[in-house]
């Protein structure tokens, strides 16, 4: 068998190297798609506000089955925001939209800027958790000692696994600097 020249083989191998380097970047959208498709890592199939009611209709018919949904929240270290849901738990009927409210209070004398990130457990039920409206899609700002109340709408799809009787929706608040794209330590942001 005739061997390729050193240069040709070397260039071919360089192409493999570049391909694998690109593969790392290709994983950014691929990973997101994969997680959305399979609800992996606690990410629900949440969409933008425009899609909200389309997704609601996708939840299908209501059933008598109920699942207990618990709510948890934690603010990042140093972020002076106290927050919590209007009810600590709800018995959510499959297919029926649930409405509740979260109240946020700035405990400091300065303005605070933050964003909430949600996750859902157990993971096998996360893909069936239809989050229709949520403050976690937007950056939030609170003046000194200010309180605000924000709504959350969600519904559980009929495909919610039968062995799941309990779900946990948890939020983590991250500080934001309104002038910068990145999250920053609380003492810098606020």
């Amino acid at each position: 068998m005739k061997r390729p020249s050193n240069a040709l083989l070397g260039i071919g191998i360089c192409a493999v190297v570049l391909l694998m380097f690109s593969f790392a970047y290709a994983n950014v959208p691929l990973f997101k798609l994969f997680c959305q498709r399979f609800g992996i890592g606690g990410s629900a199939q949440a969409g933008s506000k425009e899609e909200t009611w389309e997704q609601s209709s996708a939840t299908g018919p209501m059933s008598d089955r109920t699942v207990q949904v618990k709510f948890m929240g934690i603010a990042a270290s140093g972020l002076p925001v106290r927050f919590g849901p209007s009810e600590p738990t709800v018995e959510a009927q499959i297919g029926k939209p649930v409405h509740l409210e979260y109240t946020f209070t700035n405990m400091s004398d300065d303005s605070v800027f933050f964003r909430a990130v949600h996750s859902i457990a157990p993971v096998e039920a996360a893909r069936e958790f239809q989050l229709m409206q949520c403050f976690c899609f937007d950056d939030q700002a609170l003046g000194p000692r200010q309180s605000i109340t924000l709504p959350v709408y969600f519904a559980l799809s009929p495909r919610t696994p039968p062995n799941v009787n309990e779900l946990m929706l948890s939020y983590q608040l991250f500080p934001r600097d309104p002038h910068r794209a990145l999250p920053v330590p609380a003492k810098e942001a606020n």
Partner: protein, 533 residues
């Protein structure tokens, strides 16, 4: 195996050979570059080993204050980084650099200048790592895995992580350039008559390892670039608060770092496959099976990265897949172990230092492999995740596997490379200190882990004290053993008796081409290129 004439030597075409320091600085000779890799590797081995001794001293008893917590974290992170990226991978590249061209009957690597660049890139890479310790905030302290958000600017604001990333980038580039060189060399520069099934086992192992590097290392380079731009240029690949995902880093990191385990172990397995037949005076058993199993490990090694992430909440079906694939790796590994046992079975065994290390490798690697199969089981893995059990497992694989094999290869080829014989008694003493010290250090870590002692913590509760006393004692035994090694090597380089072309008196079936030329081999290796029959 060799003989006849093929092509004239190229030596005559060269200008007057350089001498002194410029001989090393400007060389493109694969042998000199190989030797420099080995020296550099042992420098970082000494530094990383010293760090390990400091860590073990801090952990000798609960509540000690030998190191500050933040210094402990930095030394722990650099210990892993140095041992993996600046000792094991470079020293294997060095031994490969020296031995592979000779074993395949070539005069040098395919791209000698690229070969020199590969080596010299490691110097600034290493300097970046070391210098980061002296800057504000110190070196990277998030472990050798540097998971975000721990490695994000928010939690690691100093320049340590930036230098760690840039240092790894250079080391990775060095590794990739070396891999291109090895693959082209083994593909194109084999002596006439050296068909695929005549390539020596060590060359096969190096070739397959370099193929793994070509597919895995660029992915780490991509992930490192993302982490760097997250830290410096406002991107958010791994920042959850801006739509990124830190778990993506773990996927990319382990997509490289699990195959990296095989990058560090497969060349060692190749050395063991060379050493065992020589000191059992028998032909290697199951040569083709060994080649195919090496390739099999290389391929399957790309499908198991998720077993490092069982506790990140990945889908149960993925856990099942990664668990199964991880257990499947035991099959080609088992083929190798049986081939090695069959090789020495009934042989005329000479228990010289390389053979002691080769047999020690089998014993320790089997323990590391077996605990690897346990860890492939999700319920067990979740139970011992981030405990000392994992530290014990990885050291049985990388110390008991890679390092024992490196010592086997180094003692085996020392007479060829240096042209001198080492002191056999000191070599054997080094082995026993290493073997006993290694087990004293790392065996108790299995028990600590099962009892629940977390890893990467600078102190611990009193209930783990007794096993930690033993582990620290073991690390000192290891330290003494390594001193014996360095004394032996340096003294032998200076005063050791001259070695003949074949000091091990190979039988014809085990005699590879490097043992047909003088010790050390002449410039450009062969007066006339060999023809393999």
């Amino acid at each position: 195996m060799s003989g006849g004439s093929h092509a004239p030597s190229m030596t005559d075409a060269h200008a007057k050979p350089r001498t002194g320091i410029s001989k090393w600085l400007f060389t493109t000779d694969h042998k000199l570059i190989g030797v420099m890799y080995v020296w550099l590797g042992f420098f970082f081995f000494a530094v990383g080993g010293l760090f390990a001794l400091l860590l073990r001293t801090q952990l000798a008893s609960p509540g000690l204050h030998v190191l500050k917590p933040e210094v402990y974290n930095q030394l722990m992170s650099l210990h892993g980084t140095f041992m993996i990226f600046f000792f094991t991978i470079p020293i294997l590249a060095g031994l490969g650099n020296y031995i592979v061209p000779i074993q395949i009957g070539a005069r040098d690597m395919a791209f000698p200048r690229v070969n020199a660049i590969s080596f010299w890139l490691l110097i600034p890479a290493g300097l970046m790592m070391i210098s980061s310790m002296f800057l504000q905030g110190g070196a990277a302290a998030g472990g050798w895995t540097s998971y975000p958000p721990l490695s994000d600017r928010q939690y690691s604001p100093g320049p340590g992580v930036d230098l760690w990333i840039l240092g790894l980038h250079l080391a990775g580039l060095s590794s990739i350039l070396g891999a291109i060189n090895f693959v082209v060399t083994v593909t194109n520069l084999r002596a006439p008559g050296m068909t695929l099934w005549k390539i020596p086992m060590f060359c096969w192992a190096v070739f397959i390892t370099q193929c793994i590097i070509l597919f895995a290392t660029p992915v780490l380079a991509g992930a490192l670039t993302m982490l760097l731009t997250d830290r410096m240029f406002g991107t958010a690949f791994f920042l959850p608060s801006a739509g990124g995902d830190p778990v993506l880093w773990q996927h990319l990191f382990w997509f490289y770092s699990h195959p990296a385990v095989y990058i560090m172990v497969l060349p060692g397995m190749g050395m063991i496959s060379q050493v065992l037949p020589v000191f059992a005076s028998k032909r290697l058993f199951g040569y083709k099976g060994l080649v195919i199993s090496t390739a099999g490990i290389g391929v399957i090694g790309f499908l198991v990265w998720g077993h490092h992430m069982f506790s990140t909440g990945i889908d149960p079906s993925l856990r099942f897949f990664f668990s199964l694939a991880s257990m499947v790796i035991a099959v080609p590994t088992g083929v190798k172990i049986w081939s090695w046992i069959a090789t020495i079975w009934g042989g005329s065994i000479r228990l010289r230092t390389p053979m002691l290390y080769a047999v020690g490798f089998i014993a320790l690697f089997v323990i590391g492999g077996a605990t690897g199969v346990w860890l492939a089981l999700v319920p067990f893995d979740v139970q011992v995740h981030d405990t000392y059990f994992v530290v014990a497992h990885l050291h049985y694989v990388l110390f008991g596997g890679s390092l024992m094999a490196i010592f086997a290869g180094l003692y085996y080829w020392f007479p060829k490379i240096s042209g001198r014989l080492y002191n056999e008694k000191l070599g054997q003493l080094h082995f026993w200190f290493t073997f006993i010290g290694m087990n004293l250090t790392f065996m108790p870590m299995h028990f600590m882990g099962i009892l629940g002692m977390p890893r990467r913590i600078y102190t611990y509760q009193a209930q783990y004290a007794s096993w930690n006393h033993v582990a620290t004692l073991g690390s000192y035994v290891l330290g003494v053993g390594m001193l014996l090694f360095f004394v032996n090597m340096l003294w032998s380089l200076w005063k050791g008796p001259r070695a003949t072309a074949d000091p091990w008196e190979h039988i014809e079936a085990t005699k590879t081409l490097e043992w047909t030329v003088t010790s050390p081999p002449p410039a450009e290796n062969f007066a006339t290129l060999p023809i393999i029959r």
